[in-house]
């Protein structure tokens, strides 16, 4: 059986699943429940500047009858007294010495505040620090959170302050509310951060109450941009992760992957794209800490099936497969094939292709069941039909290369080959 033990910057945990800095890691009561459930570690909810929260705080996007496809919050960093947090952190470390305890930090914007905070936190026995440069609401107005992460120079300065004082490993958490996470990533790596984590939440408006006409979450007739997370943001997080995993400088430090991870499959994908471990929040907030069981079991079974003995055997394995568009092989071609034995005649492939794609599916009328077949000469291999088909493995994409030798866009241009030929 594979081992899912994880080591991140020397910090050990029995599995690579940490709870991200958020409400689930706000106090001892929750954290102990999480550890009892089996979570590998936690990033304690951000400590630092004194704040005051509002009510309400969360909102969500539902989709197709499923609740919380995306989740949004306007909550601030921990609003509990610092000394209580520190005392509880120490107790949690003592009670569960085999779990990772990272503490998220966001001090006021001066060197002294950071140094004092780091000293107090290191005294708890915690194993690492995570710098919150990502919070997109409430703190930014005071020059903290995303306001730091969005400016590579400020981020660099703060990390330098931190590294002067910190003896524990330091992870810098990046904000996605930028055109690219790489500049800030490079900047903080240069400043000495030991690791990176990403992404924090994305600024959003999740929806509007169509009776009151006020967006949510509702606070006395007003709302505010919140931080978006949950399954909806996963593809964006994976893209940002990849850019950090591919950059020559940032790829030198370990990355903790965050952003919509709900299942073991999501976690594997983050790790394949370069995350050494992952952090989870929304899924736990929706279902409770018990989801850790399947996260571990699913990961373990997949590793056994694929013959990976340790996490390091597959971390980063997919990073080289994401390339530039101009390097893709233009001679690669595949064509949809509909398995008539599996087809349930719903017509979804047909109408998608007919209305919005390449008119490559033939409809033969039947009552009540039509027969759908692919016009192979028209099919561009876009995948749309396969994506909308509700039956597993009913539509498959079969390889029909245009020519055996690969050719990319650059070579195509060099040879002056014809364009717009479809």
């Amino acid at each position: 059986m594979a081992s899912i033990e994880s080591t991140f910057l020397g910090i050990k945990s029995p599995n690579p699943f940490w709870l991200a800095s958020a409400p689930p890691t706000d106090k001892k009561y929750n954290v102990l429940r999480a550890f009892e459930a089996g979570w590998g570690g936690v990033v304690w909810k951000t400590l630092g500047s004194q704040v005051k929260n509002v009510s309400s705080r969360y909102s969500a996007v539902d989709f197709g009858g499923q609740r919380v496809m995306g989740f949004n919050n306007i909550e601030l960093i921990s609003d509990r007294p610092l000394d209580i947090n520190l005392k509880e952190i120490a107790e949690c470390v003592r009670l569960f010495p085999d779990r990772a305890m990272i503490v998220s930090l966001m001090a006021d914007n001066d060197k002294k505040s950071w140094h004092e905070l780091i000293k107090k936190v290191e005294d708890t026995g915690a194993h690492g620090l995570e710098l919150n440069f990502g919070c997109p609401h409430g703190m930014t107005e005071r020059g903290m959170g995303a306001a730091v992460g969005q400016d590579p120079e400020i981020a660099c300065m703060v990390v330098e302050w931190v590294m002067e004082a910190a003896t524990l490993p330091v992870i810098t958490k990046l904000t996605p509310n930028v055109h690219s996470v790489v500049p800030t990533g490079r900047s903080v790596v240069k400043a000495g951060t030991n690791g990176l984590s990403l992404i924090n939440t994305i600024q959003s408006v999740t929806g509007i109450d169509l009776d009151t006409l006020v967006p949510n979450p509702y606070v006395a007739g007003k709302s505010v941009f919140g931080g978006y997370c949950g399954p909806a943001v996963k593809p964006i997080a994976l893209k940002m992760l990849t850019t950090i995993a591919q950059d020559e400088l940032t790829k030198k430090v370990p990355i903790s992957g965050i952003g919509g991870i709900s299942t073991w499959k999501d976690a594997v994908e983050f790790m394949l794209l370069g995350a050494s471990n992952v952090q989870v929040c929304t899924a736990a907030m929706k279902h409770g800490f018990r989801i850790i069981e399947d996260l571990c079991e699913g990961l373990n079974n997949w590793m056994d099936e694929k013959g990976f003995a340790t996490l390091n055997d597959f971390i980063g394995k997919s990073v080289p497969t994401i390339t530039h568009w101009e390097d893709l092989d233009i001679n690669y071609h595949h064509i949809a094939k509909i398995n008539q034995d599996k087809c349930i005649h719903c017509g979804l492939c047909y109408i998608a292709c007919e209305d919005t794609s390449h008119q490559s599916i033939n409809l033969m009328y039947g009552k009540p069941y039509n027969t759908y077949t692919i016009k192979e000469e028209e099919c561009v291999g876009c995948n749309l039909c396969q994506l909308v088909c509700p039956v597993d493995d009913c539509i498959t994409m079969e390889e029909h290369r245009v020519a055996p030798e690969p050719i990319n866009w650059k070579q195509w241009q060099e040879r002056g080959l014809p364009l717009n030929d479809h």
Binding site: G65, I344, H345, C346, L363, P368, Y369, P390, V391
Partner: protein, 445 residues
């Protein structure tokens, strides 16, 4: 012994409660609505005689556009509320649902349809705007599904419609011929009122064609006439003993349950029901629910040929009704004028007949059942006397039509009176077709 008032009012209420309860709340409806795949050129829609755009109305439930959903249904089928309760959906829309091909439960289309349409009725949403009056007048005979459907389409187009109905309530077989646990009398009345609330439709009750009114009179006073007169009594068995006390007609039996109240309808201890159509099922199950000790259904063919659906048969079986296949009634024995025994021929299946079903052949063997009540439900027969009186072209007393027009100029017909007796939903479509033909005749489209 045949007697009424066998049960307490609580027992009647329980036995005749709604067999297909509605959704408890909107969340429950949305869960099912969201399961719908939203098929293109959907098999469910193609399997609906009125071609309701099922994927569209279900999607509209999912998007919480219930008003739009109800309008989608009613645009195709103005009796969409009633049909959601009485349609044999397992052989129509739900039977064609693509989930069946995945060996999964089909979408509960009828239940979803009921959700939208009942809300429309409850909230009295006026979803159709009647066009300004054209000054044209059409008479419709029969306020059943065909007549009401025809009337609604015509009224929408600005025609003033008068319906002549021989009963004291509208709805036709919906009101008088379908098991009470499927539709309540109150629902039927509400449905008629909702349909006619568009305006421009007047129903004159207790007006029987051939008695109170004549076709000549209607032709004279209206620009066109539509006959939606339905079919009449149960087919005669044509066997000895048929006149004995205790032999009843299924349609009359159901009519009494629907019109007189459960406690007033007498039922035997041991009841035989002849036939295996929907009406036979409705009669058998209701006999049981009225308190009959034993109910035996007799059918001269086998389960493979039965006209009712498996789902319907299951209802009867679950109610404790017995079924004897390959049994044809031969004679009824009685004493003191009352039914005592039913003698049946044992049949076997022979060659296929005109309908393609294997026809039953007498084996010469017989068996005898002790019974005190026999309900005849072996199909219905048209109103022979009336058809003769109307002097209209017919085939075995089913009115003959061509594009909904009879041989009499300006007189149209549809529904059971033409097809001999099909589902409510077929009659609704016939009414729409009739209205389209009338509009064309009146040069209004």
């Amino acid at each position: 012994m045949i007697k009424h008032n066998r049960l307490s009012s609580e027992q009647y209420a329980e036995n005749f409660s709604d067999i297909h309860p509605p959704y408890e709340n909107s969340t429950a409806a949305k869960v099912d609505a969201n399961r719908c795949l939203f098929c293109y050129d959907a098999p469910c829609m193609k399997s609906c005689p009125t071609s309701i755009d099922v994927p569209k109305f279900i999607k509209q439930i999912a998007t919480e556009n219930i008003k739009g959903s109800a309008k989608t249904i009613f645009s195709s089928n103005i009796m969409g509320a009633g049909c959601s309760k009485v349609c044999p959906v397992e052989k129509l829309c739900e039977g064609a649902c693509v989930y069946n091909l995945l060996e999964e439960e089909p979408i509960p289309i009828a239940k979803l349809q009921r959700y939208s349409t009942e809300m429309a009725m409850k909230e009295n949403w006026q979803l159709f705007q009647r066009k300004n009056s054209t000054g044209k007048k059409v008479a419709i005979v029969g306020a059943g599904p065909a007549g009401l459907s025809c009337a609604h389409v015509l009224s929408r187009e600005g025609i003033d419609v008068t319906i002549y109905e021989k009963e004291s309530k509208g709805g036709g077989l919906m009101t008088y011929g379908i098991a009470a646990y499927k539709v309540t009398p109150q629902f039927c009345e509400d449905e008629v009122n909702y349909i006619t609330s568009i305006g421009g439709i007047e129903i004159k009750y207790n007006q029987e064609l051939g008695n109170d009114i004549s076709l000549a009179e209607l032709k004279r006073n209206y620009d066109a006439v539509y006959l939606g007169i339905g079919v009449g009594v149960a087919r005669q068995l044509e066997i000895p003993g048929e006149k004995l006390e205790g032999v009843v007609d299924a349609i009359e039996f159901i009519y009494d349950i629907r019109s007189k109240g459960y406690a007033s309808v007498p039922v035997g201890d041991k009841v035989a029901v002849i036939g295996m159509g929907m009406t036979a099922i409705d009669a058998a199950t209701q006999a049981k629910r009225l308190g009959a000790k034993e109910v035996t259904m007799l059918y001269r063919r086998t389960e493979a040929e039965m006209p009712c659906t498996k789902h319907e048969l299951d209802i009867a079986m679950l109610d404790g009704c017995e079924v004897i296949w390959l049994a044809a009634p031969q004679k009824i024995k009685g004493s003191a004028g009352k039914v005592k025994q039913l003698v049946c021929s044992k049949m076997k299946l022979g060659e296929p007949d005109a309908s393609g079903r294997r026809s039953p052949v007498d084996t010469g063997e017989t068996f005898t059942l002790d019974v005190d009540m026999i309900i005849k439900a072996a199909g219905q027969t048209p109103y022979e006397k009336l058809i003769k009186k109307l002097n209209i072209q017919h085939s075995k007393f089913k009115i003959t039509i061509e594009n909904c027009a009879t041989n009499i100029r300006g007189v149209f017909a549809g529904g059971d009176a033409v097809n001999g007796g099909k589902e409510v939903v077929d009659a609704v479509q016939a009414g729409k077709d009739g209205a389209a033909a009338i509009l064309k005749f009146l040069k209004l489209c």
